[in-house]
C-alpha cells in the first residue's frame, strides 16, 4: 500500500473507484491534531487509495472532494460532479438576494 503523492491523481482515481462500485466504496478522512496530519482513504475492499498531507492547502482541496462525495453518495453515482464546485459560487449571490428584500 503506497500513498498517492499527486492530489489530482488521487481525486480522479478515487471518484473512478466509487463510480465503478458505489455500494461498497467508502471514503475515510483521518485527522490527527497533535501531529498535524491528515490522511484520506478511498477503498472498495479490493483496491485502496490513500493520500496524506500536513498542509492546510490540501484541506481546502479536500473540502471540494468532500462535496463531490456527498453529492455522489446522496444523489447517485450518475450525477455530474463538474457543477458541484460551481453551485457554491451560485449560492452566495442568492443569499445576498434574500437579504436585500427589506
Amino acid at each position: 500500500m503506497v500513498y498517492i503523492t499527486s492530489w489530482d491523481d488521487f481525486a480522479e482515481r478515487s471518484i473512478q473507484l466509487f463510480r465503478a462500485d458505489p455500494e461498497s466504496t467508502r471514503y475515510v478522512m483521518k485527522y490527527r491534531h497533535c501531529d498535524g496530519k491528515l490522511v484520506l482513504k478511498v477503498t472498495d475492499n479490493r483496491e485502496c487509495l490513500k493520500f496524506k498531507s500536513d498542509q492546510a492547502q490540501d484541506a481546502k482541496k479536500m473540502e471540494k472532494l468532500n462535496n463531490i462525495f456527498f453529492t455522489l453518495m446522496a444523489r447517485g453515482p450518475e450525477v455530474d460532479t463538474s457543477e458541484v464546485a460551481g453551485k457554491e459560487q451560485m449560492e452566495q449571490p442568492a443569499k445576498k438576494g434574500r437579504g436585500r428584500k427589506q
Binding site: 466509487f18 458505489p22 455500494e23 466504496t25 467508502r26 471514503y27 475515510v28 478522512m29 483521518k30 485527522y31 490527527r32 491534531h33 497533535c34 501531529d35 498535524g36 491528515l38 498531507s53 500536513d54 498542509q55 492546510a56 492547502q57 490540501d58 484541506a59 479536500m62 473540502e63 468532500n66 462535496n67 462525495f69 456527498f70 453529492t71 455522489l72 453518495m73 446522496a74 444523489r75 447517485g76 453515482p77 453551485k87
Partner: protein
C-alpha cells in the same frame, strides 16, 4: 453505534475534535448506503421495488462511534456545516511555505508562542 439526526451529529463531531487536540485522532467515513439489511434489500429487489440510497456518515475517535445519514434533499446544508467544522478544527496543518525566510521564521516564533500560551492555559485548567 448511535444513529443521530444531522445536527446532533455535528455537535458530537465538534466535541470529538475538541477532545482530541492533545492526543488521538478523529476518523470520518462517508459511504453510500440504503440503511437496510442485505436480506431486506434482496427482498425489495426481487419485489421490483426501488431501493433508496442515502449518504451514511460515521465518525469515531477510537472510543465512541456516532453516525448519521443525509439524503439528496438535505446533503447540501449538512456538507456546508461539516466543512465549517473541519475548517475551524483543522488548525494544526501547516500554512503554505513562504518564499521569504525571515517572514516564515517570525511566523514560527509566533506559533510557538501561541502554543506555549495555550498549553499554559490548559495546565491551569
Amino acid at each position: 453505534m448511535v444513529v443521530l439526526q444531522p445536527d446532533p451529529f455535528l455537535n458530537e463531531l465538534t466535541s470529538m475534535f475538541e477532545h482530541s487536540t492533545e492526543n488521538g485522532s478523529v476518523w470520518v467515513t462517508l459511504k453510500r448506503s440504503s440503511m437496510k439489511s442485505k436480506v431486506k434489500r434482496n427482498k425489495m429487489k426481487s419485489a421490483g421495488e426501488v431501493i433508496e440510497y442515502r449518504c451514511l456518515i460515521r465518525a469515531t475517535d477510537g472510543k465512541k462511534t456516532i453516525s448519521t445519514s443525509v439524503g439528496a434533499k438535505d446533503h447540501q446544508r449538512f456538507q456546508a456545516s461539516y466543512a465549517t467544522i473541519l475548517k475551524a478544527h483543522m488548525t494544526a496543518l501547516k500554512k503554505r511555505e513562504r518564499k521569504d525566510k525571515r517572514k516564515s521564521a517570525e511566523a514560527d516564533k509566533k506559533q510557538e508562542g501561541s502554543k506555549k500560551r495555550s498549553s499554559a492555559a490548559k495546565a491551569s485548567v
